[in-house]
C-alpha cells in the first residue's frame, strides 16, 4: 500500500505552500516585495487549485484546525485500539472456556484471520487508514490471545518463538499498510524475543539478558541505515526510538543492578560503575550521531538518557556524602547547565537542517 507515501508528500507540499504564503505576506508588510494585484491573484489561484487538487486526492490537513482534529483522531484511534485489544482478551476469557478444546482452537485461529480480512476491507474503503490501523491492532491482539490461550488450554511447553510470531505478524501489517503503531509493536516483540529466554510462569533477570538487549536495541536503531525506507519515510524514526529506548533501558538495568555477563568476574559495584560511565558515553555518542545525521528523535532519546544516567551517577557519588538540599541544588544547577548545552545543540541542529 503505497498510498500513504503520496499522502505524506502531499501534506508536505500543502505545508510548504502555507509557509510560502505566510512569508510572502510578511515580505509585503515589511515593504521588501510588492506584488501587483494580478500577480497576487495568480498566486492565490494557484495555491487554492493545488490545495483543492491534493485534498481531493488525499486525506490531508489544509488548515490548522484540521491538523489539530487529525491529532485528536490519531489519539482517539490509538486509545480505541488499546481498549479494543483488552476487550478481545477479556471476551475470549469470558466465553471460550465453555467450549470444547477443538472448537476453542478453531475460533482462536480463525479470529485473527477474520480481523485481517476486515482490516483489508476497511483499507480499500478509506483514505486515512484510521479504521484500518484500529482493526490491524485488534487482529494483532487476537493473535496474541490465540497463541497464549492455545498454550494454556493444551499445556504446551512455553516457547519464546511466540514473540517472534507476534513480531512477524505486526511487522507484516505495518509494512502492508504503512502503519507506525504495528511497526513499534512488532519491534518491541522482537526486542522481547532477544531478552526473554523462556516464557515460564516466572522469569528472572539473568546475566547476559541486558547485554543482548543492548546489542539488539542498537541493531534495531541502526537497521534503517541498511534497510532504506524510501517509500515509508516515517518508519526509520520509529526504528530508532524503539531501538534506543530498549538499549538505554537495558543499560539502566545493569547500571542499577550490576549483573553483567561481559564482566561476570567483577564485583557488582564495579560493574555498575563501568556501565554508568559507558551509558553516559553511549548517550553522548547517540546525541552526536543524531546531530550528524539530522535525526531529531535520536537527539531527544540520547539527551533524556544522558540526563538520567548523569543523575544515577550523581546519586551514587554524592547522595550519602552531602546534605540532601545541596544534592538537589547541584542537580538543578546541572540541569540548567545541560539546558544551555542542549540549546546550543538545538541551534546547531536547526542550522544543519
Amino acid at each position: 500500500m503505497g498510498g500513504d507515501v503520496s499522502r505524506i508528500q502531499a501534506q508536505a507540499r500543502v505545508d510548504r505552500l502555507r509557509v510560502f504564503l505566510d512569508q510572502l505576506a510578511e515580505l509585503e508588510r515589511d515593504g521588501i516585495l510588492q506584488l501587483t494585484e494580478e500577480q497576487r491573484a495568480k498566486v492565490a489561484e494557484h495555491h487554492q487549485a493545488t490545495v483543492a487538487r491534493l485534498a481531493a486526492q488525499f486525506d490531508i490537513d489544509t488548515t490548522d484546525s484540521e491538523r489539530q482534529l487529525s491529532w485528536g483522531m490519531r489519539i482517539a484511534s490509538t486509545l480505541g485500539a488499546v481498549a479494543l485489544c483488552i476487550a478481545v482478551a477479556l471476551f475470549a476469557a469470558r466465553f471460550l472456556g465453555h467450549l470444547r478444546p477443538p472448537m476453542q482452537l478453531a475460533i482462536l485461529g480463525a479470529t485473527p484471520l477474520l480481523l485481517l480480512a476486515c482490516a483489508e476491507y476497511a483499507a480499500r474503503r478509506e483514505r486515512s487508514l484510521y479504521f484500518t490501523g484500529l482493526l490491524a491492532m485488534i487482529a494483532f491482539a487476537a493473535f496474541v490471545v490465540d497463541l497464549e490461550l492455545a498454550g494454556r488450554i493444551f499445556s504446551l511447553a512455553p516457547t519464546t518463538n511466540a514473540l517472534l510470531a507476534w513480531g512477524a505478524f505486526a511487522l507484516a501489517l505495518a509494512y502492508h499498510y504503512s502503519l507506525r503503531l504495528p511497526l513499534a509493536t512488532g519491534l518491541v516483540c522482537l526486542l522481547g524475543w532477544t531478552l526473554i529466554r523462556h516464557l515460564y510462569p516466572w522469569w528472572f533477570w539473568e546475566e547476559g539478558d541486558a547485554e543482548r538487549v543492548i546489542v539488539a536495541g542498537a541493531g534495531i536503531a541502526l537497521a534503517p541505515l541498511l534497510l532504506p525506507h524510501g517509500n515509508r519515510p516515517e518508519f526509520p524514526a520509529v526504528f530508532r526510538l524503539v531501538g534506543w529506548a530498549g538499549m538505554f533501558l537495558a543499560f539502566a538495568v545493569i547500571a542499577l543492578d550490576g549483573r553483567s555477563a561481559l564482566l561476570s568476574t567483577w564485583d557488582r559495584s564495579d560493574t555498575r560503575l563501568v556501565y554508568q560511565y559507558a551509558a553516559l558515553l553511549v548517550a553522548a555518542a547517540v546525541i552526536w550521531l543524531g546531530i550528524a545525521r539530522r535525526w531529531s528523535e535520536t537527539v531527544d532519546a540520547g539527551s533524556v538518557a544522558f540526563v538520567l544516567f548523569l543523575l544515577i551517577r550523581l546519586g551514587n557519588w554524592l547522595w550519602d556524602d552531602i546534605p540532601k538540599y545541596l544534592f538537589f541544588f547541584l542537580v538543578g544547577a546541572i540541569g540548567i547547565a545541560l539546558l544551555l548545552v542542549f540549546r546550543r545543540l538545538r541551534t546547531r541542529l536547526a542550522v544543519a537542517q
Binding site: 471460550l96 485473527p112 484471520l113 499445556s155 511447553a157 499498510y177 515460564y200 510462569p201 546475566e207
Partner: protein
Amino acid sequence: MKPNGLHIAAAVVVVSNVYVAANVARNRGAGPESELTLTECELHMNPPDSDNSFASARIVAEISGKRFDEAQLRDLGFDLSARHERAREVFLALEYAGKTWEEWASIAPDAYYMTGMPEEQRIAIRRGTNTKLFAIDAALDPAVLRARHPNRRQVMILRGRVRMTKESASKTYGTIDGLARLEIDVPSPLSKRLIGAQPGCRYEVGAGNSMRIVEPRFRVTVRTGSRYEPWIESLEYK
C-alpha cells in the same frame, strides 16, 4: 498473485496454529506416557467465574526440598567451574505418594500454629492436607529419566528448570526453579463440576481444639504425552 504483507500475516497465523495443533496431536496421539490419579492436594482447582470461563488446576508439587549434588549438576550440563550459570531447562520426575513423600510425611511438623498438638495429630495434618507429589530426579533426556523411574502410574515427567547455586568455593548445589507450566486447563464440561464446590484437602479446628481433616473432593486423572505436556483426562467426585 505477488505475496504482500497481508498474505505474510495470514500465513504466520495459519502456520502458528497448525504448529500448535500438530504438537497437541503428537503429544496425545501415541497414548499416555504417564497416567497418575491425583487429588485436590496436588491440584488446586480454580473454578470458572463470571469474568473467566476457563477453569484450571494448579500443580502443587514439593520441589523446594530437592537438592542436586555436583555429579548430578554435571549430568544436567552445568559447568561447575563457572562463577555463574544460567538456569537450565530439564525434565523433572515427579513421584506421587512415593518413598520421598513417605519419609517427609513421617516427621511431625513443628509449625507455630501446631504448638500443643500431639505428634500423631501433627503427622495426620501433614499427611492429609499436603501434596504427595514430590520432585525426585532430573535429567536432560526424558528417556533416561523414565528408565530410572519406570512406574508410569506413580512417576510423571514434566518440563522444568534447575538452577546452580555456589554457596562457597567448595559447595555447589542445584535447586529446582519451577515447572514450565504451573497450571493445567480443566476442559469443558469437566470444568462445570467445579462450580460452587467447597475446597477440600485442609483441616478444621472445632470446639475444644478438636481437629478434623477435610478430605479432597476430587479424583483427577492426569496424563502426559510424548511431549511431556499434561492434560486432565477425567475428574470425578470421590
